[in-house]
């Protein structure tokens, strides 16, 4: 089994299953902070998917997209926590 086939048929389904489980928490999450960390985990798994896909297709350009996405995940979480704290208790 080649490395590309292994990634396509084993690694990517595992990551897709993780994305599905995280989506369940994103829709269910009783509090808004649960949704925020679910979104954060979603983007982190997205960076991993992009990385693995760039190995599978041998296109190193995709790594740049992962870098930007990791930056946006951090800024999004910081912005969410800042404004939620400003809003105060419900």
């Amino acid at each position: 089994m080649t490395l590309s086939g292994y990634i396509d048929y084993v690694i990517l389904p595992i990551l897709g299953l993780s994305l599905l489980l995280t989506f369940v928490r994103l829709f269910k999450g009783p509090n808004i902070v649960d949704r925020v960390i679910a979104l954060d985990l979603l983007i982190t798994v997205g960076v991993s998917v992009i990385t693995v896909y760039s190995i599978s297709t041998q296109e190193s350009t995709f790594i740049d997209v992962g870098m930007i996405l990791a930056l946006i995940a951090f800024l999004g979480t910081i912005a969410f926590s800042y404004y939620l704290e400003k809003r105060g208790r419900k």
């Binding site: 595992i14 299953l17 928490r25 509090n31 960390i37 985990l41 798994v45 990791a70 951090f74 926590s81």
Partner: protein, 133 residues
Amino acid sequence: MTDIIIGILCTLGALTILIAAVGILRMPDFYLRLSVTVKAATLGGGLLLSAAAVYFTDEVSVTTKALAIIFFLILTGPVAAHLIGRTAYVIGTEQWKGTIRDDLTGMYHKDSTEPGSGENAEENGGHEVPPAS
């Protein structure tokens, strides 16, 4: 040989991310979810990115980029987790009923986000309270 190393790194990373996803779905309250998720996701993403760094060894710029993303993930993950955890405590997210200890009880006033504004702030603060004589 390189393929075997990449395969092992990818497998470990994917399994760690799967554990993080199961953890965020199954843990009983927000703080446990946060504690399970952030570390496992950072480790899994780091392993997958190091697999990419090993795979693209003939292009030094790509390896550098992958290592930079790993550094960035390790740097920003705990900061974001700390901030969102503090916000969750301040806005009053409920805790699991099995929680046995909360060091911040009474440290925050009901309508304030400043630490030390609660009525128990004195005796729960870091300094020793002199015994009443």
